[in-house]
Amino acid sequence: MTVPTVPTRPIAPTVPTRGTVKIDVEACKGCDLCIDACRPGVLTMTTDRFNQRGYRFPELRAGCTACRACAQVCPDFVFQVWKFDTPVELPEGPVPDAALHRDVERQREQRS
């Protein structure tokens, strides 16, 4: 009798996440203040990508607590903070829809 094998597909680890931020990438001047301010440490600066003005900008990883610190310390009004009604588990790693490229948004608005 052969024992069926358990599937070995790895299950991605998840992170409890209580909120999210939208990041106005084009407004950012790359000052890094949000990086140190972020309490759960889920913001990281890009190292190889730049906005249209040539600045590095922050990216969000799963685990945001909606604590607002990033928005409070940001000199350039880059962050919009949302709090989830109930925490969710998000896969570890970048939150893909956090970055807000205003030019793209504007084009979308013009189309609609």
Binding site: G19, K29, G30, L33
Partner: protein, 247 residues
């Protein structure tokens, strides 16, 4: 999954969030603190600003605004408030504007107990002109007019304007905050709120100094601004309420 918006990109009372302040500048951080309080208290104030980097924030604001001669905002605010005693009046000055050029006006306005709220964005340097020594530049700080650092033998000592104002009978509230961390920002926001509440109560002259980062003027990387503020400015001037009515 439903969610609530807890912080909008820009405060409602900014018509535009675009500005030409340097990366890592603390002025717009401090201005957000002020606008958030004005919005919380649902005020319709007149804002008077001096000459400095922060002047462009006055322009962006959705507040009735008067741009004043360098150092003279407290005198102009006296004229505004005396004519509009029920309108909240806020002045916004930098350290060069208030403490260097305008020491006379701020002290006399305080002594008269003028019923407006004076805000000082203190970064210890003339930012707008490109980084020069002011009356609050701390000992040892390098500026373009103190290249080897502020030397007491040569340039004298920085003025502690909060301490000066706290001695003045007409001043009802004197506090110093900073914007070098989220916690400090929250604390500073409470100070600004208290000052404006006291103005509404007619308590007298109210004053909040906010220490802000100027990494460009300080010749430090933007990410080190908050730490430099802590080490250089908070160490020199301190943080907290220097004078407040009981309760």
């Amino acid at each position: 999954m439903s969610s609530q918006l807890v912080v909008e990109f820009k405060p409602k009372l900014l018509q535009s969030s675009e500005h030409e302040l340097c990366p890592g500048c603390g002025h717009s951080v401090a201005f957000r603190v002020v606008l958030d309080v004005v919005e919380e208290l649902d005020l319709k104030p007149v804002l008077l600003a001096g000459h400095g980097c922060y002047t462009q924030l006055m322009v962006q604001s959705d507040l009735d605004s008067l741009q004043c001669l360098h150092g003279r905002a407290p005198a102009a605010a006296t004229g505004v408030k005396r004519m509009l005693p029920t309108t909240p009046v806020i002045t916004l000055q930098g350290d060069g504007d208030m403490v260097t050029e305008g020491l006379h006006e701020i002290l006399h306005a305080a002594a008269r107990g003028e019923q407006f709220t004076a805000l000082l964005f203190n970064n210890g340097v003339f930012g707008d002109t490109g980084g020069h020594l002011t009356a609050t530049t701390v000992v040892g700080q390098r500026t373009k007019t103190s290249l080897e650092g502020r030397d007491p033998a040569l340039h004298g000592y920085p003025l502690n304007i909060g301490q000066l104002l706290a001695q003045v009978e007409g001043a009802a509230y004197v506090a110093r905050g900073a914007v070098n961390s989220a916690g400090m920002i929250a604390r500073t926001q409470r100070m600004v709120r208290r000052a404006l509440e006291l103005q509404l109560e007619g308590a007298g002259f109210t004053f909040v100094e906010i220490l802000t980062m100027c990494p460009t003027g300080w010749f430090v990387p933007t990410s080190e601004g908050p730490e430099y503020l802590e080490d250089a400015m908070i160490t020199t001037f301190g943080i907290g309420e220097l004078k407040a009515p009981p309760g």
